[in-house]
Amino acid sequence: MSNQTNVSIFPEKYLSDQQNRLVIMAALAPVAGKTRFQPAGFPEIGHVIYSTPDNQKVCIVDSAASMANHLETVCVQGFDLSLVDELDGLPYVKCIIGQNRDELVATSLSEGHRLASYYFLNGNRVINNTIEEKKFGEVLLADEFRLRNLAKKTHPLPAQWWNVFSAIFRYDPNSLVHGILFPAMGIKLPRVLTATLDAFGADRIATSGVKFDKISKKDPKNPGQAIFSKDEESASEIRATFTIDLSLIRSFGRGNEGLNDAQKQLILGFALWKIKKLIGSSFRFRSECDLELTGLQIDGKVSKVSDLAVDIETLIKNAGFQDPRVTEIYWDENELFKPAKDIPEDGSEDPDDGDDQSDEDE
């Protein structure tokens, strides 16, 4: 279903201009009038709060990597990792296992390294129900990126980039939006969409509680009274900043090389769709971090969330993707999940009758 009538942003307009970046700033606040929220906790230091040179306390609610994860989460259904209806027809890659090749392990929208994940590059593609012999990484390198003759270079020559962009776009446009790194091939594409989420005027709020185990089934002599503590934050302002690198999108294609205009528009439109999805609807960053939009600026102008509307279905349709849209990469389960080997302790015989064996851990 096309939403053409509700569309407010036309990607072609931004891409035809000479504007280098598009900055979108969203002011957020905890829902239902709450004053507290829970930022990301980092190992050993918990929430990160620091004093800035501008004399305020800033809390990193989510790092850029974490925001990228959130922006990918909005693309898929919660539990089975299938695409949301609006993105129907958008290509992506699946890693599958199982005798019937029907057990999903990960997708390029859930994997940290996206298309460059080990689980795609070192698995075997399934085509017409047949498992290819070559690893998918080799297929990409030789047949898609066509990086066979790098000479002494370890990374693509300028002219070879067009194949790289086209191939990544064909298999997983999401990888172009959030950046991708193939270290062995010298391919490093920066993020088109970079997002940060910070809270200003932040203050830590420590709370604690006790969980009573009144039944005490586990250990009747020691009824459970687990004491827990948690830190939350309050802040005078929570701000999400989204920066879209327009010139980078423009550089993905030139004339008949690389991405065409419709494909570049999809990259921009997909980035905008993600932002709208994240800030315009109910999205919980964490269980105690349910934030809602209170203000929006697009390119420095006060805007409404409806101003971010793009016709994503049409953009996908116009991008010229070919079937199959979803690339399946198969792994033998025992290769992917290597079971630990049992260790017989040879020569240590014990004539005990076995009664006293315990199942204690080492």
Binding site: P53, P183, T194, R254, S348, D352
Partner: protein, 598 residues
């Protein structure tokens, strides 16, 4: 070039530094990093232009590298910038089973003889079973497990009957089976393993104070077409360092007054930090190298680069802006009502006034430094001197003379409880001092060393709040009596208990009155029946507390009969600025003496 970081952070780790053990952080930003970032955007720019401009862009890149590398680089760094805490994060690394710790157990070979029904496995393909084990689990239930030749569990019988356990153990003994020890890993759920990474960053002022790159170059190298190319590349730099460092960077055209405060040196000093720079003769190929190329991966420094050293400018931290406070009119008197569950005995009244003044000085120190843990004695001597009329100590800690500094009096009520506190000074308190006093009054006051359970609370009263006539220490009268006992400054008795000539109480009072230029007075000690003598705590300055152990002194009740009516307050003797030796006018029909509460 002017550079800002809108999010206020520059995320980067210096070349080859281990992020978890990066001693310096990357500040100033490395010229090597900047040049590579510009080149990356130059290649991107080429892709945006028609194909026939590629050759021209390649030429410009060569020129750019030469012009940049031969420039002398310095910075004007914002002085209000410092290293952030750095954040550690777990990134998913591999899929695998999250194995719990292995279970150690013993297995026995499974024999053909067992197929007689002793081990009830009729429902299993016998040929699968190669090993078995029997053991008690944590809840003391007997468990029997069977394994195939790969030690994979094929059957488990939980909670087997005791008779079966006994039969089985008998069988094991009879057949002299020996147990083999095994560590067995049971596969658990499949999940990601994670690796911990660290993201170091430097905090920068958001927009107020940019960072300036100053390139001192041969002017002829930066031709107009190269400058245009540079501008185009800078305009495309969305971030610098890690993706978290959103940045704006541009060449400045207007003639701003920019003075470098950070310079590169070839040699190291004790406070300099290493900065990776391109060599003057670095080539485009050098600078464009990939980090995983062999020649780079196996070297301590990339080709065409050199370590130089820079001394960062001193950090200046902004004092927190003080909230504009109401200007209070000068006043000589501030009054507080005192509330509490348990009031101190007369002997310990001084503890209240002493601690209250201490809290006032602490508040002043906090206001001066913006540090909530600051102490007054930590302030520089010239700042402390500004408050000599509160502390009673002038230059170099010398005591002020002439009763000029602030005094703190406790006024008792009918039940002889100290329910009012008065701050008095001949020279009116300034607005700042009053704010400190009012701020101190919000802090509960403990008067006992044994714990803080008995705290007094102060409530400010308007300065016009009257005192009862018989306790109006600011009144006027010829006849005055001690409201709080007088402690002579000198010992009245020798160590042998005999009076010290010249140090009699009357003489000392007379001397005190003369020092204060008060009129002559007839001095008399009130008789024993009205508790004329009682032990009182006196103030011991911090510097004397180490060697003086006894702060209990004799306090005396005194009557003064001046030759002319005299205006109060009259307070004399030891610790008189903490409320001892305070006098009140005697009503015509009575006395102000404190009774009881000894």
């Amino acid at each position: 070039m002017q550079q800002t970081f809108p999010v206020g952070r520059f995320h980067a780790t210096p070349w080859r530094a281990f992020p978890f053990d990066d001693p310096y952080g990357e500040w100033p930003p490395s010229p090597w990093r900047l040049l590579r970032a510009i080149l990356a955007r130059s290649f991107q720019l080429s892709r945006e232009f028609p194909k026939d401009s590629e050759e021209e862009h390649e030429r410009l890149r060569e020129l750019l590298v030469h012009a940049f590398c031969t420039s002398k680089i310095s910075w004007q760094l914002p002085t209000q910038s410092w290293r952030g805490p750095g954040i550690q994060q777990y990134h998913p690394a591999d899929f695998e089973y999250s194995h719990p710790s292995p279970r150690k157990f013993k297995v026995y070979d499974y024999r053909e003889e067992f197929r007689d029904g002793t081990l009830d496995i009729a429902d299993l393909g016998h040929e699968l079973i190669k090993f078995f084990t029997i053991y008690k689990d944590k809840s003391k239930k007997d468990i029997l497990e069977f394994f195939n030749e790969n030690m994979e569990l094929v059957k488990m019988e939980p909670d087997i009957a005791p008779e079966k356990v006994k039969a089985l153990n008998d069988l094991i003994r009879k057949m002299k089976l020996t147990a083999r020890k095994y560590k067995h890993y049971f596969p658990d759920e499949k999940s990601y393993t994670a690796t911990k990474v660290k993201d170091n960053f430097w905090l920068t002022p958001e927009n107020t104070s940019p960072l300036f790159w100053i390139l001192d170059s041969d002017h002829s190298l930066w031709k107009p077409d190269l400058l245009i190319h540079l501008d185009d590349c800078l305009a495309r730099m969305t971030y610098f360092g890690r993706a978290e460092s959103i940045t704006y960077i541009e060449r400045i055209h207007e003639n701003l007054d920019i003075v470098a405060n950070c310079f590169l040196r070839d040699s190291r000093t004790t406070v300099a930090v290493p900065v990776l720079c391109p060599k003057a003769n670095a080539t485009l190929e050098d600078v464009g190298c990939m980090t995983n190329e062999k020649k780079v991966a196996n070297s301590t420094i990339p080709p065409g680069a050199v370590w130089k050293y820079a001394e960062r400018p001193l950090i200046t931290k902004n004092k927190k802006p003080q909230r504009p406070s109401k200007k209070l009119l000068p006043t000589t008197v501030l009054q507080f009502a005192i509330g509490g569950r348990v009031f101190p005995p007369l002997k310990l009244w001084l503890r209240v006034t002493e601690r209250f003044r201490g809290t006032i000085l602490q508040k002043i120190a906090q206001n001066q430094t913006g540090n909530q843990k600051a102490q007054f004695y930590e302030l520089s001597s010239d700042i402390r001197e500004n408050y000599s009329l509160l502390t009673g100590k002038g230059e170099n800690g010398v005591r002020l003379t002439g009763h000029r500094h602030a005094a703190f009096f406790l006024i008792p009520d009918e039940e002889v409880k100290p329910t009012r506190l008065i701050c008095y000074r001949k020279k009116p308190f300034t607005s700042e001092e009053q704010m400190a006093i009012l701020s101190a009054s919000e802090v509960p006051l403990a008067w006992d060393y044994r714990g803080n359970q008995w705290k007094l609370r102060l409530v400010p009263l308007s300065k016009e709040t009257p005192l009862p006539y018989e306790k109006d220490i600011f009144g006027e009268s010829r006849l005055w009596e001690t409201l709080v006992p007088y402690v002579p400054p000198l010992h009245v008795f020798r160590q042998n208990g005999k009076p010290k000539p010249g140090a009699e109480v009357e003489n000392q009072v007379k001397s005190n009155l003369e020092n204060l230029n008060l009129p002559q007075a007839e001095i008399s000690l009130l008789d024993e029946s009205s508790n004329s003598v009682q032990w009182m705590k006196v103030h011991r300055p911090r510097r004397e507390r180490r060697w003086q152990t006894n702060d209990d002194k004799r306090g005396y009740r005194i009557r003064l009969n001046f030759i002319v009516p005299t205006k109060g307050p009259v307070f004399i003797g030891n610790s008189s600025h903490f409320g001892l030796g305070l006098f009140a006018p005697v009503p015509v029909d009575g006395s102000t003496q404190l009774k009881g509460n000894v």
